[in-house]
Protein backbone atom coordinates (compact mmCIF):
# COMPACT_ATOMS: atom_id res chain seq x y z
CA UNK A 1 0.00 0.00 0.00
CA UNK A 2 1.52 3.24 -1.11
CA UNK A 3 1.81 6.33 1.01
CA UNK A 4 -0.75 8.04 -1.20
CA UNK A 5 -3.25 5.25 -0.67
CA UNK A 6 -2.72 5.45 3.09
CA UNK A 7 -3.32 9.20 3.05
CA UNK A 8 -6.50 8.76 1.06
CA UNK A 9 -7.76 6.08 3.42
CA UNK A 10 -6.95 8.30 6.38
CA UNK A 11 -8.85 11.21 4.87
CA UNK A 12 -11.80 8.97 4.17
CA UNK A 13 -11.73 7.87 7.79
CA UNK A 14 -11.55 11.45 9.00
CA UNK A 15 -14.44 12.50 6.78
CA UNK A 16 -16.62 9.62 7.90
CA UNK A 17 -15.70 10.33 11.51
CA UNK A 18 -16.59 13.97 11.15
CA UNK A 19 -19.82 13.20 9.35
CA UNK A 20 -20.79 10.66 11.97
CA UNK A 21 -20.02 13.09 14.76
CA UNK A 22 -22.08 15.83 13.19
CA UNK A 23 -24.99 13.49 12.51
CA UNK A 24 -24.96 12.33 16.09
CA UNK A 25 -24.65 15.83 17.57
CA UNK A 26 -27.11 17.55 15.26
CA UNK A 27 -29.73 14.87 14.57
CA UNK A 28 -29.58 11.99 17.02
CA UNK A 29 -28.74 13.90 20.18
CA UNK A 30 -28.77 17.61 19.47
CA UNK A 31 -27.68 20.08 22.10
CA UNK A 32 -30.31 20.86 24.69
CA UNK A 33 -29.44 23.93 26.66
CA UNK A 34 -30.22 23.30 30.27
CA UNK A 35 -29.03 24.46 33.66
CA UNK A 36 -28.10 27.90 32.49
CA UNK A 37 -27.75 30.99 34.65
CA UNK A 38 -29.72 34.22 34.25
CA UNK A 39 -26.74 36.04 32.78
CA UNK A 40 -27.10 34.00 29.59
CA UNK A 41 -30.66 35.07 28.88
CA UNK A 42 -31.53 36.70 25.60
CA UNK A 43 -31.67 40.50 25.84
CA UNK A 44 -35.47 40.84 26.03
CA UNK A 45 -35.76 38.11 28.63
CA UNK A 46 -32.79 39.49 30.51
CA UNK A 47 -34.42 42.89 30.78
CA UNK A 48 -37.61 41.30 31.99
CA UNK A 49 -35.63 39.29 34.50
CA UNK A 50 -34.14 42.48 35.89
CA UNK A 51 -37.59 44.04 36.02
CA UNK A 52 -38.91 41.09 37.99
CA UNK A 53 -35.98 41.30 40.40
CA UNK A 54 -36.77 44.97 40.93
CA UNK A 55 -40.48 44.31 41.40
CA UNK A 56 -39.71 41.64 43.97
CA UNK A 57 -37.42 44.01 45.78
CA UNK A 58 -40.15 46.63 45.79
CA UNK A 59 -42.31 44.15 47.68
CA UNK A 60 -40.00 42.39 50.09
CA UNK A 61 -37.30 45.07 50.46
CA UNK A 62 -34.78 42.31 50.83
CA UNK A 63 -31.69 43.89 49.35
CA UNK A 64 -29.46 40.92 50.12
CA UNK A 65 -31.81 38.68 48.18
CA UNK A 66 -32.00 41.13 45.29
CA UNK A 67 -28.23 41.38 45.22
CA UNK A 68 -27.88 37.60 45.07
CA UNK A 69 -30.27 37.53 42.16
CA UNK A 70 -28.33 40.25 40.40
CA UNK A 71 -25.05 38.44 40.98
CA UNK A 72 -26.56 35.45 39.20
CA UNK A 73 -27.60 37.84 36.46
CA UNK A 74 -24.09 39.24 36.16
CA UNK A 75 -24.98 42.63 37.57
CA UNK A 76 -23.67 42.68 41.14
CA UNK A 77 -23.37 46.46 41.28
CA UNK A 78 -26.73 47.28 39.77
CA UNK A 79 -25.30 49.10 36.76
CA UNK A 80 -27.53 47.23 34.36
CA UNK A 81 -30.50 47.88 36.62
CA UNK A 82 -29.70 51.60 36.48
CA UNK A 83 -29.23 51.44 32.72
CA UNK A 84 -32.54 49.66 32.34
CA UNK A 85 -34.21 52.29 34.51
CA UNK A 86 -32.84 54.97 32.21
CA UNK A 87 -34.13 53.13 29.19
CA UNK A 88 -37.46 52.50 30.85
CA UNK A 89 -37.75 56.23 31.43
CA UNK A 90 -37.05 56.93 27.77
CA UNK A 91 -39.43 54.24 26.60
CA UNK A 92 -42.21 55.38 28.90
CA UNK A 93 -42.67 52.33 31.08
CA UNK A 94 -45.47 52.56 33.60
CA UNK A 95 -44.52 54.30 36.82
CA UNK A 96 -44.55 51.33 39.19
CA UNK A 97 -42.18 49.26 37.08
CA UNK A 98 -39.98 52.24 36.34
CA UNK A 99 -39.81 53.25 39.98
CA UNK A 100 -39.14 49.71 41.11
CA UNK A 101 -36.06 49.70 38.90
CA UNK A 102 -35.04 53.15 40.07
CA UNK A 103 -35.57 52.17 43.68
CA UNK A 104 -33.41 49.08 43.40
CA UNK A 105 -30.73 51.00 41.52
CA UNK A 106 -30.74 53.59 44.25
CA UNK A 107 -30.53 50.96 46.96
CA UNK A 108 -27.49 49.55 45.18
CA UNK A 109 -25.84 52.96 45.13
CA UNK A 110 -26.54 53.74 41.49
CA UNK A 111 -27.95 57.07 40.49
CA UNK A 112 -30.41 57.36 37.68
CA UNK A 113 -32.49 60.13 36.20
CA UNK A 114 -35.53 57.91 36.61
CA UNK A 115 -35.52 58.76 40.33
CA UNK A 116 -36.79 62.22 39.50
CA UNK A 117 -40.17 60.91 38.40
CA UNK A 118 -40.69 58.60 41.36
CA UNK A 119 -42.37 60.05 44.43
CA UNK A 120 -40.52 59.12 47.55
CA UNK A 121 -37.39 58.39 45.57
CA UNK A 122 -36.62 61.86 44.31
CA UNK A 123 -34.09 62.69 46.99
CA UNK A 124 -31.48 60.00 46.60
CA UNK A 125 -29.65 59.10 49.76
CA UNK A 126 -26.37 57.25 49.57
CA UNK A 127 -26.93 53.72 50.70
CA UNK A 128 -24.10 51.70 52.17
CA UNK A 129 -23.44 48.27 50.84
CA UNK A 130 -25.59 45.65 52.52
CA UNK A 131 -23.98 43.59 55.21
CA UNK A 132 -26.30 40.68 55.64
CA UNK A 133 -29.19 42.52 57.22
CA UNK A 134 -29.68 45.31 54.76
CA UNK A 135 -33.04 46.55 55.91
CA UNK A 136 -32.33 46.56 59.61
CA UNK A 137 -31.56 49.70 61.47
CA UNK A 138 -28.39 49.96 63.52
CA UNK A 139 -28.72 48.51 67.00
CA UNK A 140 -29.06 51.94 68.49
CA UNK A 141 -32.37 52.43 66.79
CA UNK A 142 -34.71 50.81 69.23
CA UNK A 143 -38.41 50.46 68.55
CA UNK A 144 -40.47 53.40 69.60
CA UNK A 145 -42.64 52.34 72.50
CA UNK A 146 -46.30 52.78 71.88
CA UNK A 147 -47.97 54.97 74.51
CA UNK A 148 -50.82 53.13 76.08
CA UNK A 149 -52.53 55.95 77.93
CA UNK A 150 -54.80 57.00 75.13
CA UNK A 151 -55.20 53.70 73.41
CA UNK A 152 -57.07 50.51 73.84
CA UNK A 153 -56.85 48.95 77.28
CA UNK A 154 -53.54 47.24 76.75
CA UNK A 155 -51.97 48.23 80.03
CA UNK A 156 -51.55 44.57 80.83
CA UNK A 157 -50.49 43.65 77.35
CA UNK A 158 -47.59 41.29 77.09
CA UNK A 159 -45.00 41.70 74.43
CA UNK A 160 -44.31 38.25 73.10
CA UNK A 161 -42.31 39.14 70.03
CA UNK A 162 -39.51 41.64 69.72
CA UNK A 163 -40.17 43.91 66.79
CA UNK A 164 -37.52 44.40 64.23
CA UNK A 165 -37.50 47.96 63.03
CA UNK A 166 -36.83 48.42 59.37
CA UNK A 167 -35.94 51.51 57.46
CA UNK A 168 -35.20 52.15 53.86
CA UNK A 169 -34.40 55.59 52.51
CA UNK A 170 -36.78 55.28 49.59
CA UNK A 171 -39.84 55.18 51.82
CA UNK A 172 -41.64 57.96 53.59
CA UNK A 173 -42.42 55.71 56.55
CA UNK A 174 -40.66 52.90 58.29
CA UNK A 175 -41.90 50.09 60.48
CA UNK A 176 -40.73 50.74 64.01
CA UNK A 177 -42.85 48.16 65.80
CA UNK A 178 -44.31 44.84 64.82
CA UNK A 179 -45.52 43.35 68.03
CA UNK A 180 -47.62 40.50 69.23
CA UNK A 181 -49.71 41.81 72.07
CA UNK A 182 -51.64 39.77 74.59
CA UNK A 183 -54.34 41.47 76.57
CA UNK A 184 -56.66 39.79 79.08
CA UNK A 185 -59.67 41.78 77.91
CA UNK A 186 -59.18 41.09 74.24
CA UNK A 187 -62.19 39.28 72.85
CA UNK A 188 -61.33 39.10 69.16
CA UNK A 189 -58.22 39.01 67.02
CA UNK A 190 -57.16 42.40 65.74
CA UNK A 191 -54.50 44.07 63.66
CA UNK A 192 -53.82 47.50 65.10
CA UNK A 193 -52.03 50.06 62.98
CA UNK A 194 -50.56 53.26 64.30
CA UNK A 195 -49.12 55.88 61.99
CA UNK A 196 -47.12 58.57 63.72
CA UNK A 197 -44.58 61.25 63.12
CA UNK A 198 -41.10 61.29 64.57
CA UNK A 199 -42.41 62.74 67.82
CA UNK A 200 -44.85 59.90 68.26
CA UNK A 201 -47.86 62.02 67.39
CA UNK A 202 -50.55 60.19 65.44
CA UNK A 203 -51.17 61.15 61.82
CA UNK A 204 -54.77 60.97 60.69
CA UNK A 205 -55.94 60.36 57.14
CA UNK A 206 -53.19 57.97 56.10
CA UNK A 207 -54.37 55.10 53.95
CA UNK A 208 -53.50 51.65 55.24
CA UNK A 209 -53.53 48.54 53.10
CA UNK A 210 -53.93 45.04 54.45
CA UNK A 211 -53.43 42.20 52.01
CA UNK A 212 -53.90 38.48 52.29
CA UNK A 213 -53.71 35.67 49.76
CA UNK A 214 -57.26 36.11 48.58
CA UNK A 215 -57.52 39.88 48.53
CA UNK A 216 -56.89 43.18 50.21
CA UNK A 217 -58.62 45.91 52.18
CA UNK A 218 -57.85 49.59 52.56
CA UNK A 219 -58.84 51.99 55.28
CA UNK A 220 -57.66 55.21 56.85
CA UNK A 221 -56.22 56.23 60.15
CA UNK A 222 -58.08 58.72 62.30
CA UNK A 223 -61.53 57.14 62.27
CA UNK A 224 -61.18 56.25 65.96
CA UNK A 225 -59.78 59.46 67.43
CA UNK A 226 -60.73 58.29 70.88
CA UNK A 227 -57.92 55.78 70.55
CA UNK A 228 -55.37 57.85 68.66
CA UNK A 229 -55.37 60.22 65.70
CA UNK A 230 -53.11 57.86 63.81
CA UNK A 231 -54.91 54.70 64.75
CA UNK A 232 -56.76 52.22 62.56
CA UNK A 233 -57.56 48.60 63.04
CA UNK A 234 -58.63 45.58 61.06
CA UNK A 235 -60.43 42.44 62.13
CA UNK A 236 -58.59 39.49 60.59
CA UNK A 237 -60.20 36.26 59.52
CA UNK A 238 -59.12 33.08 61.25
CA UNK A 239 -56.26 31.10 59.77
CA UNK A 240 -55.25 33.87 57.40
CA UNK A 241 -51.91 35.61 57.29
CA UNK A 242 -51.81 39.29 56.46
CA UNK A 243 -49.40 41.94 55.34
CA UNK A 244 -49.88 45.59 56.21
CA UNK A 245 -48.31 48.60 54.55
CA UNK A 246 -49.04 52.16 53.54
CA UNK A 247 -49.85 52.44 49.84
CA UNK A 248 -49.08 55.61 48.01
CA UNK A 249 -50.09 57.17 44.73
CA UNK A 250 -49.22 55.44 41.50
CA UNK A 251 -48.73 52.09 43.14
CA UNK A 252 -45.66 53.22 45.03
CA UNK A 253 -45.69 51.95 48.58
CA UNK A 254 -44.92 54.59 51.18
CA UNK A 255 -43.66 52.05 53.66
CA UNK A 256 -42.08 48.63 53.66
CA UNK A 257 -44.57 45.88 54.37
CA UNK A 258 -45.11 44.45 57.79
CA UNK A 259 -45.52 40.87 56.66
CA UNK A 260 -46.42 37.50 58.11
CA UNK A 261 -49.13 38.74 60.45
CA UNK A 262 -50.41 35.27 61.21
CA UNK A 263 -53.11 34.65 63.82
CA UNK A 264 -51.96 33.59 67.24
CA UNK A 265 -53.43 33.01 70.67
CA UNK A 266 -52.45 34.02 74.15
CA UNK A 267 -52.89 31.91 77.24
CA UNK A 268 -55.73 33.23 79.41
CA UNK A 269 -57.16 32.25 82.79
CA UNK A 270 -60.01 30.38 81.17
CA UNK A 271 -58.53 29.32 77.88
CA UNK A 272 -56.72 30.82 74.94
CA UNK A 273 -57.39 34.42 73.99
CA UNK A 274 -57.00 35.91 70.52
CA UNK A 275 -53.80 37.83 70.04
CA UNK A 276 -53.36 41.32 68.66
CA UNK A 277 -50.82 42.45 66.13
CA UNK A 278 -49.64 45.99 66.68
CA UNK A 279 -47.86 47.67 63.80
CA UNK A 280 -46.39 51.14 64.15
CA UNK A 281 -45.32 53.13 61.12
CA UNK A 282 -43.19 56.18 61.73
CA UNK A 283 -42.73 58.96 59.25
CA UNK A 284 -39.18 59.54 58.09
CA UNK A 285 -38.30 63.19 58.27
CA UNK A 286 -40.58 66.12 59.01
Amino acid sequence: MSARAILIALCIGLLFGLAGGLYYSWVVEPVRIVDTAPDTLAPAQYDDYLAVVAASYAVDQDLARARLRLIAAGDPNGRRIAALAERALQEGWDAPRLCALAGLAQALGQRTAALAVCPGLSTPTPTPAPTGAPTALPPSATPTPVPSATRRPTATATLVDSPTPTATPRYLFRVVARQKVCSPDQSAALIQVYVQDQDGKGIAGVEVRVTWPAGEDRFFTGLKPEVDAGYADFAPAPQTTYTADLPGPGGIALSPPAADLAPFTCPGPSGDLPGVWRIVFEKLGP
Binding site: M1, A9, C11, L14, P38, L41, Q45, V53, P213, A262
Partner: protein, 126 residues
Protein backbone atom coordinates in the same frame (compact mmCIF):
# COMPACT_ATOMS: atom_id res chain seq x y z
CA UNK B 1 -4.11 -8.70 -1.12
CA UNK B 2 -5.57 -9.52 2.28
CA UNK B 3 -2.81 -7.59 4.01
CA UNK B 4 -3.59 -4.51 1.92
CA UNK B 5 -7.29 -4.65 2.74
CA UNK B 6 -6.50 -5.11 6.42
CA UNK B 7 -4.08 -2.20 6.35
CA UNK B 8 -6.66 -0.02 4.61
CA UNK B 9 -9.25 -0.84 7.27
CA UNK B 10 -6.79 -0.05 10.03
CA UNK B 11 -5.90 3.26 8.45
CA UNK B 12 -9.54 4.20 7.98
CA UNK B 13 -10.28 3.30 11.59
CA UNK B 14 -7.32 5.33 12.71
CA UNK B 15 -8.68 8.25 10.74
CA UNK B 16 -12.03 7.83 12.44
CA UNK B 17 -10.42 7.79 15.86
CA UNK B 18 -8.27 10.82 15.12
CA UNK B 19 -11.24 12.67 13.65
CA UNK B 20 -13.36 11.95 16.68
CA UNK B 21 -10.59 12.88 19.07
CA UNK B 22 -9.96 16.11 17.22
CA UNK B 23 -13.63 16.99 17.26
CA UNK B 24 -13.92 16.35 20.95
CA UNK B 25 -10.81 18.40 21.69
CA UNK B 26 -12.13 21.33 19.69
CA UNK B 27 -15.62 21.02 21.18
CA UNK B 28 -14.65 20.56 24.78
CA UNK B 29 -11.32 22.34 25.22
CA UNK B 30 -10.24 24.61 22.41
CA UNK B 31 -13.61 26.07 21.47
CA UNK B 32 -16.21 25.01 24.01
CA UNK B 33 -19.83 25.93 23.71
CA UNK B 34 -20.72 29.30 25.17
CA UNK B 35 -24.37 29.82 25.88
CA UNK B 36 -26.05 33.11 25.17
CA UNK B 37 -29.49 34.20 24.11
CA UNK B 38 -31.00 31.43 26.18
CA UNK B 39 -34.55 31.38 27.50
CA UNK B 40 -36.00 31.29 30.96
CA UNK B 41 -37.02 27.71 30.34
CA UNK B 42 -33.38 26.67 30.19
CA UNK B 43 -32.48 28.12 33.57
CA UNK B 44 -31.12 25.78 36.17
CA UNK B 45 -33.80 24.42 38.49
CA UNK B 46 -33.09 26.68 41.45
CA UNK B 47 -32.92 29.77 39.24
CA UNK B 48 -36.16 28.76 37.58
CA UNK B 49 -37.92 28.27 40.89
CA UNK B 50 -36.66 31.62 42.07
CA UNK B 51 -37.90 33.19 38.85
CA UNK B 52 -41.37 31.77 39.44
CA UNK B 53 -41.28 33.13 42.98
CA UNK B 54 -40.29 36.55 41.66
CA UNK B 55 -43.12 36.42 39.15
CA UNK B 56 -45.53 35.62 41.97
CA UNK B 57 -44.12 38.43 44.08
CA UNK B 58 -44.37 40.87 41.22
CA UNK B 59 -47.94 39.73 40.60
CA UNK B 60 -48.85 40.41 44.22
CA UNK B 61 -47.45 43.86 43.67
CA UNK B 62 -48.88 44.93 40.32
CA UNK B 63 -51.89 42.60 40.15
CA UNK B 64 -51.27 42.05 36.44
CA UNK B 65 -52.23 38.42 35.93
CA UNK B 66 -51.71 38.65 32.18
CA UNK B 67 -48.15 39.75 32.63
CA UNK B 68 -47.49 37.03 35.18
CA UNK B 69 -48.96 34.43 32.84
CA UNK B 70 -46.88 35.71 29.94
CA UNK B 71 -43.76 35.35 32.03
CA UNK B 72 -44.65 31.85 33.17
CA UNK B 73 -45.58 30.84 29.66
CA UNK B 74 -41.91 31.06 28.79
CA UNK B 75 -41.38 28.10 31.08
CA UNK B 76 -44.62 26.16 30.88
CA UNK B 77 -47.50 27.04 28.63
CA UNK B 78 -49.90 24.23 29.48
CA UNK B 79 -49.81 23.83 33.22
CA UNK B 80 -48.95 27.17 34.71
CA UNK B 81 -50.91 26.67 37.96
CA UNK B 82 -49.26 23.30 38.41
CA UNK B 83 -45.88 24.86 37.78
CA UNK B 84 -46.47 27.48 40.48
CA UNK B 85 -47.84 24.90 42.89
CA UNK B 86 -44.84 22.68 42.35
CA UNK B 87 -42.52 25.56 43.16
CA UNK B 88 -44.61 26.36 46.22
CA UNK B 89 -44.38 22.77 47.41
CA UNK B 90 -40.63 22.64 46.88
CA UNK B 91 -40.21 25.91 48.70
CA UNK B 92 -42.37 24.69 51.57
CA UNK B 93 -40.34 21.51 51.79
CA UNK B 94 -37.20 23.59 52.14
CA UNK B 95 -38.65 25.82 54.84
CA UNK B 96 -39.50 28.79 52.65
CA UNK B 97 -40.89 31.96 54.15
CA UNK B 98 -44.61 31.99 54.74
CA UNK B 99 -44.99 35.21 52.78
CA UNK B 100 -43.33 33.64 49.73
CA UNK B 101 -45.56 30.59 49.97
CA UNK B 102 -48.63 32.78 50.11
CA UNK B 103 -47.55 34.74 47.08
CA UNK B 104 -47.11 31.55 45.12
CA UNK B 105 -50.39 30.20 46.39
CA UNK B 106 -52.26 33.31 45.39
CA UNK B 107 -50.80 33.27 41.92
CA UNK B 108 -51.65 29.60 41.48
CA UNK B 109 -55.21 30.18 42.63
CA UNK B 110 -55.67 33.18 40.38
CA UNK B 111 -54.22 31.32 37.41
CA UNK B 112 -56.69 28.52 38.00
CA UNK B 113 -59.56 30.99 38.25
CA UNK B 114 -58.47 32.81 35.14
CA UNK B 115 -60.87 32.42 32.21
CA UNK B 116 -59.49 30.46 29.32
CA UNK B 117 -58.00 32.64 26.59
CA UNK B 118 -60.28 33.08 23.59
CA UNK B 119 -59.77 30.69 20.73
CA UNK B 120 -58.59 32.47 17.63
CA UNK B 121 -60.84 31.88 14.65
CA UNK B 122 -60.03 32.56 11.07
CA UNK B 123 -61.85 35.45 9.49
CA UNK B 124 -64.05 34.12 6.70
CA UNK B 125 -63.09 35.36 3.31
CA UNK B 126 -66.05 36.53 1.26
Amino acid sequence: MLNRVLLAIIVVLAGLVFGLAGGLYVGWRAWPVQYHNTGVDSLRGDYRDDYVLMVATAYGWDGDLGRAAARLRQIESAGMPELVEAVRDRLAAHGGAEADLQRLNRLALDLRARPAPPIETATPVP
